[in-house]
Symmetry: C2
């Protein structure tokens, strides 16, 4: 939970409320958000598949990141009243509008990341562990 007042929070609000670049970064800057965005860019995914595709993230954190993106309007959550439950996540129009942003961030990284093969790697991070 966040403090109601602190210099830290005040500065964050000051910046995100006045700097367009910082505002955008704030929405996409979580540890697992790029990976989530890249996955949903190809279409809706249910929670269990998202999770299986990201073995390194814990459930709590994955849910946290999804909830933040949902409350920021980047993704939507659709519950199917079945048993066992099914929940699908997908990009909203706002989320889809990030496409050029994602592409240019990816291109710059592909060009400059040490060890990059310059082939625009789309946040794999699905192996290991």
């Amino acid at each position: 939970m966040r403090k109601q007042s602190s210099t830290n929070l005040e500065n964050e609000m000051l910046i995100n409320g006045n700097c367009d670049m910082a505002y955008t970064l704030d929405l996409i800057g979580g540890r697992w958000k790029p990976s989530i965005l890249w996955r949903l860019a190809y279409g809706a995914m249910r929670y269990s598949d998202l999770r299986r595709s990201l073995p390194a993230v814990s459930e709590r954190i994955l849910i946290l990141q999804l909830r933040e993106m949902e409350s920021d309007g980047l993704i939507s959550r659709k519950v199917y009243p079945e048993v066992p439950p099914r929940v699908e996540y997908q990009l909203t129009d706002l989320g889809k509008s990030l496409e050029p942003v994602i592409n240019i961030l990816t291109d710059w990284g592909a060009e400059n990341r040490p060890g990059s093969d310059k082939k625009r790697v789309r946040c794999p991070v699905l192996t290991i562990k």
Copy 2:
């Protein structure tokens, strides 16, 4: 100081080492980095001017952000052996190559930030305090 090993660090390395988008975000994602980038985009600045233009950031944090950007190769630090000392910071070629990235992040924010006047605000954050 960072731990030598922790899941947190491992995950960070896993992601930044495999996801181009995350790598880029990592370089520009610090609290004050967008503000610094926007300022240096107009040319070199000395430390004291940078600091005066950002009254809300403490010296320690400003230095930390500058040092990180320097070690990431985005800015360079030039010391003039004068009295009183003069230190100038400026974008490197790598830093300058971020221009389209910065522009698109700013444009998306200008378009979607609540309360935005859609006029591409360039990380002012120089008033207050």
